[in-house]
């Protein structure tokens, strides 16, 4: 930890109507893990894109290993020794690991040689990976390894990681951290973007905090509490969601041995899933992405059908009903993918309010639509959930991810559901908005709604759910009260090692 690998001086980047970064300066030292913290829209991704050559700064300079550094494109950045692991993987499901790695290379060597190098790197850094496996069969954690190895093959001096742990189990996170420590011991610097404050406190040597495009602080995360970090990001005092004591009512939603085939070839079919949620209860369902979460949401929303008696709401079989009928009886859902699934990107917020609200909000009469009321409904969501947008006439895709998330969750919450199922309710949402969404879910439960939260954020599930279960390869673990669980046990449940057999006797 001596010389700075990357030094940033006064970087500024403005887009029409918004300043993404304003006069940001900091140094990343050799062999350190440097956290970049900030809310959504704080300018983290713009900053990283400038370092990786995807975006050109308006002002300011960068120095990389003592030399002026102004990459015109990612290729130049890679040549200089900067590598990046993106949050969304760019891998082809149908190709194997080595072929995927070769695709990203300028001059790929023969596949056999490349496979040898992949093995070598994966063993050196404790990332076991078979170069000839088909990517479509890999777990999210393994896919991430492919991306990391792809970067390591370039021998980088600076590795940028964008939210790398959002798709990992706690055990996989440990493996990743060991790898990162091994890298830093060799002098590689790591720029680490994450929302998970505890993680940053455990891993990172230094943290730079951005708010509204400006650097607000640089600190040592180990000496700062998670709450202090969060408050620096948000700039205000945070509220922790409150759980009032709730009396549980009758069973509102019940699944009995539900099996549903996934419509996609690389999806995960659901296998004999059973659980019951009572009125006023929050059931948390964890699990690594791609273990049946999307399918479970689809099977509950009515996009995927099952035998009628496999899904019951208040005792009535609904498994064969479509989404509209299910909304009619009060079973509402909010899918994970905001753009294209929960909302139509090019349609206005008013139209998107109509998308699920037409029936329960009385926006439709005998098939004819009342756009005035739909606009009113959209405005009500915007006001109550603090959605930042010029108005309900704006297209859904013009909103930032976090704001759109508030809108699509708010849209369901405001329809007074009997049963609400949400998948990744706070994914990519900043700390204060996430707290608001969680509070809204808890308030609903307090009002007697049965809430099912599917999430990969374990802290979130521990915070709001009464009982916890994990999805693994389309099967559900035994469901246990959250208060009895620690993070170790949860990790084992997510990995499918614990109680799985018991659950299916």
């Amino acid at each position: 930890m001596t010389a700075p690998v990357l030094s940033i001086q006064g970087l500024t980047k403005a887009y029409p109507g918004v300043v993404a970064n304003s006069d940001v300066s900091f140094d990343v030292m050799e062999g350190e893990v440097h956290a970049l913290l900030g809310e959504n829209g704080a300018g983290k991704s713009t900053l990283v894109k400038m370092i990786y050559g995807l975006v050109k700064p308006d002002h300011g300079t960068m120095t990389f290993q003592g030399k002026p550094y102004a990459p015109a494109e990612p290729r130049a950045a890679r040549a200089a020794g900067v590598a990046m692991v993106f949050q969304h993987f760019s891998l082809f499901d149908a190709l194997n690991v080595a072929e995927n790695v070769a695709l990203g290379m300028e001059k790929p060597p023969r596949l056999a040689d490349l496979a040898g190098r992949i093995r070598e790197v994966s063993e050196t850094y404790g990332l076991p990976l078979d170069p000839f496996r088909i990517v479509g069969d890999l777990s999210a954690g393994e896919r991430q390894r492919v991306e990391i190895i792809r970067c390591l093959l370039q021998d980088p001096r600076l590795l940028i990681m964008d939210e790398p742990t959002s798709v990992l189990t706690p055990q996989e996170v440990d493996i990743l951290f060991q790898t990162l420590r091994k890298l830093t011991a060799e002098g590689v610097a790591i720029l680490y973007i994450s929302h998970k404050l505890e993680e940053i406190r455990a891993l990172c040597d230094t943290a730079t905090i951005l708010r509204l495009g400006k650097k607000v602080a640089t600190c040592t995360p180990a000496d700062t509490t998670a709450r202090q970090l969060a408050e620096m990001m948000v700039g205000t005092v945070l509220h922790t969601p409150e759980r009032s004591g709730r009396a549980l009512g009758d069973v509102a939603l019940e699944l009995t041995e539900m099996s549903v085939r996934s419509p996609s070839a690389f999806g995960c079919s659901l296998k004999r899933i059973s659980f019951a949620v009572r009125k006023g209860e929050v059931l948390g369902l964890g699990g690594v992405a791609g273990n049946g979460q999307d399918e479970l949401l689809g099977a509950l929303s009515g996009e995927l059908r099952s035998a009628p008696e496999m899904v019951r709401v208040h005792g009535n079989p609904v498994g064969a009903l479509g989404p509209i009928e299910r909304r009619g009886i009060g079973l509402l859902c909010a899918p994970e993918e905001r753009l294209g699934h929960a909302a139509a990107p090019d349609m206005s917020l008013t139209e998107n309010a109509m998308l699920t609200g037409s029936l329960r909000e009385g926006l439709e009469r005998r098939g004819f639509l009342d756009w005035g009321r739909a606009k009113g409904f959209a405005e009500a969501i915007i006001a109550r959930f603090d959605v930042r947008t010029p108005g309900p006439g704006n297209a859904a895709r013009s909103l930032s991810g976090g704001n759109l998330q508030k809108f699509v969750i708010g849209r369901e919450v405001m329809q007074r559901p009997e049963v609400l199922v949400v998948n990744q309710p706070t994914w990519g949402v900043d700390a204060s908005a996430a707290a608001a969404i969680r509070q809204a879910l808890l308030d609903l439960a307090a009002g007697g709604t049965a809430v099912v939260v599917i999430s990969q954020d374990l802290d979130e599930l521990m915070e709001i759910s009464d009982r916890f279960g994990a999805l693994n390869e389309g099967r559900l673990s035994r469901i246990r009260p959250t208060s009895e669980l620690n993070i170790e046990e949860i990790g084992l449940m997510m990995g499918g090692a614990h109680d799985m057999e018991v659950a299916h006797v």
Partner: protein
């Protein structure tokens, strides 16, 4: 350096400006084309766009605008509903032919009986015929996942063979001295789709087109079905989440398009054309695709685009006879219109930015 930059939301101004720019670009490029053919470009453009409306003989051409525009609008309205939902019916020409055959077939079956009910029955038969022809690709798509573009297109050629067979066989005029083609329905008052106001070009097909425009407008803006059609086109997954049944939507959209195309064929065969003949169809079903896109898949836009396209048909005929421009040049002219429109359309979602060349 010019660079395309994605707009945060689609530009409302360009949605309406694009067709205008496309028409102007077509005039310029078309003018160049005519100049290369050795014609005075200004005269050619004036002959096509101005003379049918304002020349000395305009009284003769103006009714033609409605006669030619109505089937285009009727078909394009039906097509636009499917296109909005991402359902690509390319076979309106076939549905148009079959609608004409079933409509005319009912009329001919009643000949020479006079009765008020003959024409309404023909209307129903025409719509039903077009609907049934469109149901073939629709059902195949829903049941077996076939591609509706290929199936509907191939059925056009089947329909053309059917048309030839009918005009040479079953529907041939028994008093026609062996010439191919059916009896002339214009001479059978109960079945004649006559002008409602003499000399205006206004026949029942024009009325149907107007109703279709209004109906489609209300459906798309005010009705849940229209909302679901738009939603399916914009975000199919969100549409399923909202509760749209994609198979049902395919049946509805193709069915409506087929019925409207069938109606257009029926009004044409019982009115302006008068009889079933081998060369009865003149490509309205294909031109309507251009009309639908030129009109931004919007009912009112389609009404205007249909009239514009009718104008190029009429003007094209005048140019052929008066200036000796080949018929193919007119078709190219219409094709150019679609080409330019699709090119200019980029501006709806992107904007041009002048950027300084960056130093690498």
């Amino acid at each position: 350096m010019l660079k395309l930059e994605r707009r945060p939301q689609p530009s409302k101004a360009w949605v309406w400006l694009a067709p205008v720019v496309a028409v102007i670009a077509t005039m310029i490029a078309g003018g160049a084309l005519f100049a290369m053919l050795g014609k005075d470009p200004l005269v050619a453009i004036r002959t096509i766009f101005w003379d049918p409306l304002f020349s000395e003989f305009a009284f003769f051409y103006r009714p033609q605008l409605l006669v030619k525009g109505a089937p285009l609008i009727l078909i394009a309205i039906g097509l636009s509903l499917g296109f909005r939902a991402g359902i690509w019916n390319i076979g309106a020409e076939g549905q148009y032919i079959v609608g004409a055959l079933t409509g005319a077939g009912v009329g001919l079956a009643f000949y020479p009986l006079e009765g008020w009910f003959v024409f309404p029955l023909m209307v129903m038969a025409g719509a039903l015929g077009g609907w049934a022809w469109a149901m073939i690709p629709a059902v195949l798509k829903v049941k077996f996942g076939t591609n509706e573009i290929l199936v509907s297109l191939m059925l056009v050629y089947v329909a053309e063979q059917l048309l030839a067979s009918m005009s040479l066989g079953l529907m041939k005029n028994p008093e026609g001295f062996g010439f191919p083609g059916s009896r002339n329905l214009q001479q059978y008052p109960s079945a004649h789709n006559a002008e409602l106001i003499a000399g205006s070009g206004m026949h029942w097909g024009v009325v149907a087109a107007m109703i279709a425009v209004i109906f489609a407008y209300i459906m798309l803006t005010r009705h849940i079905l229209g909302f679901h059609i738009r939603l399916t086109g914009e975000a199919p997954r969100a549409a399923r989440f909202a509760g749209v049944n994609p198979g049902r939507l395919v049946l509805i959209c193709l069915g409506l398009a087929g019925a409207l195309a069938g109606l257009a064929g029926m009004f044409e065969v019982s009115g302006p054309a008068g009889r079933v003949s081998i060369d009865f169809n003149v490509g309205y079903g294909f031109t309507a695709i251009i009309v639908a896109f030129l009109g931004r898949l919007h009912p009112l836009g389609i009404a205007l685009a249909g009239l514009l396209m009718a104008l190029t048909y009429i003007g094209g005929e005048i140019a052929q006879s008066r200036l000796g421009v080949p018929a193919a040049a007119i078709q190219m002219f219409q094709g150019m219109l679609l080409f330019f429109l699709l090119a200019v359309d980029v501006m709806t979602n992107y904007r041009l930015r002048l950027t300084r060349r960056e130093v690498a």
